[in-house]
Symmetry: C2
Subunit: 504 residues, 2 copies
């Protein structure tokens, strides 16, 4: 273990084992933990809690908690607690295979909400009281304030509202991260809210550490463990073509005078395609870019290193092991260029709209009229959740959704007559990109939107089928504003469930 990370002697005296800390959590509690996209989540207490829950279940005792976080975490948290059947209710976002399986089996209740709504809805009292907060930090200052680690997420809210607090001090996290955070304490409940004084992605408006009432701290646990770091896939041909269409479009918008040469602050979802877009942007001659986003992944780190990106504002990281090494090695460089905020600020509608972000997110499917489904496979099975995509799609300058035109070896078309679930309505979607091209839906009425999607996005193997639906709907639909044939609107999905392919 490196140099002492706990400078408050008061809190140093509360250091206990993960098991002792987990023993302070009671069945039925609402537990709010740190963690955002696999960064900055507690590494030890959730595992110890899962073991305790296992033991209780073996002994025939009921033990489940209501679990809140910033966003997704990792196998040591969501995975372990889900496997132990220890989660009664989960919110606001997850990507864990075990949790997902239980949610879709109907044995784990999940609330899928806009990430910008989480903190305020908890403050409003819509989720009851928080019993325990479990927060990973990179260090504790002498005055007891907490230096966040690789995510900030909802930690401010959890620390403010929880009745008792458990802190994990992870010395695997670089201590050079101190100074990277910006925790805004100017929020309030209506009717006392004020404008948030942020006008550029790199404005600092808060404090570098989290306030924490030491009287509430019931345990401090020392840990030494890495964040969940999975390597990104090599950029494949499909991703490269999607990135190519988007970059060509952005250049066109600059030429038309609708975007400044250094664009507007980028928001990018996590995944291989967004990563490919970032890689493409880095090589396209753009300079002096900025990002106002949730998560920094490899592509953005590269852009910062190469000077393509001037500054990036985020609330968490999703780095491959190699990128994480680079981040730690050059932390002083990155500390001047990265600002980590609470997620109520990173996703705030006020700020996303003011800055005029360019939002780039993945999707499950879109329909003829540009409604987007980000969450539900075949209308009922949750994949991950809406995350912050709605905060950005609704409020950005451009709302872009990216996806391969097919999934599951071509058995599924990502462009369908009617989406089986809606997360982003036609009103909130301006651009859709697949490997085949880009549909520019701005300023178009529904049937013209359909033409864009038919002409530019749908895979050739589904094109005739989708054209046929649209033609017949345009002729016989009850209303011709948004033509549909209700008995067929969801039939592609049902066909896939019945036969394993949407091809008719």
């Amino acid at each position: 273990m490196s140099s002492e990370r706990i400078l408050s002697s008061l809190l140093r005296d509360r250091v206990v084992s993960a098991e002792a800390a987990a023993a302070l959590i009671q069945p039925g509690e609402t537990v709010a933990m740190s963690g955002f996209t696999g960064s900055g989540y507690p590494k030890a207490v959730p595992l110890a809690l899962a073991r305790r829950i296992d033991d209780a279940h073996v002994a025939g005792e009921a033990f489940r908690i209501r679990l809140m976080t910033g966003a997704s975490t990792a196998p040591e948290l969501d995975g372990a607690l889900a496997q132990a059947d220890g989660i009664a209710l989960r919110m606001p976002f997850q990507t864990d295979p075990d949790a997902r399986q239980r949610i879709n089996a109907g044995t784990l209740d999940y609330i899928d909400i806009h990430l910008s709504h989480v903190a305020q809805h908890v403050w409003f009292g819509f989720y009851g009281e928080i019993d325990t907060a479990v927060i990973e930090v990179s260090g504790i200052r002498e005055d007891g304030s907490l230096i966040p680690s690789t995510s900030v997420g909802n930690n401010k809210t959890w620390l403010d509202l929880a009745k008792k607090v458990i802190i994990e001090v992870n010395d695997w996290q670089p201590d050079g991260i101190d100074g990277m955070h910006d925790v805004y304490y100017g929020t309030a409940l209506p009717p006392h809210r004020k404008p948030i004084p942020l006008v550029q992605a790199d404005d600092r408006i808060g404090e570098t550490s989290l306030r924490c009432d030491p009287d509430k701290v019931v345990a401090v646990v020392r840990t030494h463990g890495p964040d969940r770091n999975s390597p990104f896939a090599a950029v494949d041909d499909t991703s490269k073509r999607i990135a190519g269409h988007l970059i060509e479009f952005l250049k066109h918008e600059v030429r038309m005078g609708r975007l400044p040469e250094n664009l507007l602050p980028l928001q990018s979802g996590v995944g291989n395609i967004p990563n490919a877009v970032l890689a493409g942007l880095a090589e396209s001659g753009f300079r002096d870019l900025s990002a106002f986003t949730e998560v920094i992944q490899d592509g953005m780190l590269d852009m910062l290193r190469d000077g393509v990106l001037r500054v990036a504002s985020c609330t968490g990281f999703a780095l491959s092991p190699a990128a994480n090494e680079e981040f730690k090695r050059n932390i002083a460089f990155y500390r001047e260029r990265i600002i980590m905020r609470t997620q109520e600020i990173s996703n705030h509608p006020e700020l996303v709209r003011r800055l005029g972000c360019i939002a780039m997110n993945g999707m499950i499917e879109a329909d003829l009229y540009g409604n987007v489904n980000s969450t539900h496979v075949m209308g009922s099975r949750i994949m991950n959740g809406i995350g912050g995509s709605g905060d950005f799609a609704r409020n950005s300058f451009l709302s872009i959704f990216l996806s391969p035109s097919t999934a599951k070896n071509g058995s599924i078309s990502a462009l369908v007559p009617m989406v089986s679930h809606v997360d982003h309505t036609e009103h909130d979607v301006s651009i859709i990109v697949t490997e085949h091209g880009l549909a520019d839906l701005r300023g178009l009425p529904p049937r013209h939107r359909a033409r864009q999607i038919l002409d530019h996005c749908v895979d050739p193997s589904y094109r005739a089928q989708l054209e046929d639906y649209f033609d017949r709907a345009s002729r016989v639909s009850y209303g011709k504003h948004t033509p549909h044939l209700l008995p067929e609107a969801l039939s592609w999905h049902q066909r896939w469930l019945d036969t394993g392919t949407m091809l008719g």
Copy 2:
């Protein structure tokens, strides 16, 4: 005609007939007019334009325009131009029977967008250039600036962007309205946006008149005509019960400490049910209320008069003839209590969220999981449009949707397995109220939301049918997160189309 309303001698020299003004509009133009919910729309030029278009069509010449407004207007504008087949494209909102019929016949293209998006998307260049603005005002000052009439809507944007401007000066509008408006000129395009300095519903942050470059003014027309004023229906039993459930809930939230005694700023849609809710609120002992809303209708005027409502911020009116008389008679009283803003401010996500509004809107239908359809009958026929409902539903403290549980003499259930079109996703809907009760969806996962709706909202005649769908879906759905049976999800709507009733 009363005293001189045109104090600028420069502009007085440009007074012409409506016919002469209409002659300045060319086929194919994009024409941006004033008007919001039947208030403050131009009364003479659109009628003259419709006659011109009729003549052109009789002569075998093509003549259609692209028409933008604030929101809905009146028979003299939307009605006349639609009947003349003079509209190629309409945005952003309409409620006209003739326009609606053409939109649903597929002969008039309509773009249905969030009212808070309109001005900015036009500024962003997503809708091309504006050729002509036709704006009703109540007067012209000596310096050529314009005193708005009974709506502000997008007039600031239209005047700033249009290549030529036609002004209608309507001396039917009370001249005492001067001073009621607050036109904010602090907006900008990204990356130059600043916080909007409004923290209370009654803050004044702008100017009382609209700036207008006199060089662009090609015609001024004098008019004398009333706004569209239709009386409200007497409050019926269904509306009264809906209002009752909602008011009981609000009182409960005050008792629980989740709402202040004087609530939070009210937003209310237009219609008989919202009017009944306002009437109910007025009699429930609430005091010192405020409103931050789009439109002031009779109920709010009553509340202002009786001192229940301290202040109301809006962008337009929808008054019955009697209420309009009262408004004109006591205009000095109302001028101290009403602030009329541009609709980019009245509907701004930044402000709706900051103020923490209580949003109360009507709907077409909601589904088991709380997705709301505000716009499309049977998934394809547009009724009106989303209007500002999304701006408020997404950003308010409480997002409430109100509707009778059935429509068309009970042949349609407003609570269905899956909505046939989504305007407000499950993420954006917190409360649903029908005459049978109130579903409180806050903090609940999907299947618990369904229980609320089944237990409190659905009409008894549809309850067994909806329970049966939910039960079977919960057993055999592909995913159990949001259970659905795709072949049946829209079958109620199709049954109504086939047989005239959703009852199975």
